[in-house]
């Protein structure tokens, strides 16, 4: 141990705030990326499952265009 006490370890002769801030941000960001990546995969799996459960309705042939005018009724 390079420090005499736990208190000295935290303070680090006045450099504590800088060192601990760096370690905090490092773990925060790495943790966030890891957590986010895990959640994203779970989300994608759930999404894919929903997609396979409900097989999309497929149109047998493209709907023919009639170009009939549509008159919006006013009543």
């Amino acid at each position: 141990m390079a420090f005499d006490s736990f208190g000295a370890f935290i303070v680090m002769e006045g450099h504590g705030p800088y060192v601990w801030a760096c370690y905090f941000v490092f773990f925060l960001l790495m943790g966030a990326v890891m957590f986010w990546s895990l959640r994203q995969r779970r989300f994608v799996i759930a999404q894919q499952r929903r997609r396979t459960d409900s097989t999309p309705v497929r149109a047998e042939s493209p709907a023919g265009a009639s170009f009939t005018r549509i008159e919006p009724s006013q009543d």
Partner: protein, 212 residues
Amino acid sequence: MSEPLLQAVNLECERDDRVLFRDLSFSILPGSLIRVEGPNGSGKTTLLRILAGLNDSYSGDLLWRGKSRNGYREEFLRNMLYLGHRPGIKPLLTPMENLRALMDGRRLLPDKILWQALEGTGLGGFQAVPCRNLSAGQQRRVALARLLIADEPLWILDEVFTAIDIQGVAALERLLIERVENGGAIVVTTHHDLRLPSMQRVTLGGGDGYGY
């Protein structure tokens, strides 16, 4: 049988999770015209761009005179003429300058010939007017003037008849027929009802649309 110029073997193209076509095989023979048909969005333009070498997101093979096209790219490009939706005409230049610029990369011809070609597409008298002052149909005619002087054996033409008037269409049809009779190979897409003798069809959008 003549030797095919370009052969498509098991072409498949997928766009945005949608299969446009799959297992598409055909040969483009000299002295033949192929019309690519299909409803809007069926991939006609995409197929033509793939054949021309503009789009390479396909699987399958394209053979140029029996050999892989990608290995003979330069020879292929030298012998192929492509006209797309966008005619390749600069609005700021005159028809003459445009035609000159388009031909300068392929075949050096005297001004007189280019002038005649523009006359032949009905642009006589407009040769020196900036293209932005011309109508859409006239601008397309500038691009079509290339067909009067092109000696490439393979033509790939996307929607050639767009914005062309009735007389123009008839004349253009005659040009294509004559070209085919002289041994040229042509691939076209058009919604215009083309009646040519010996025309082959490639139909896209035959049911197998969405790939789910």
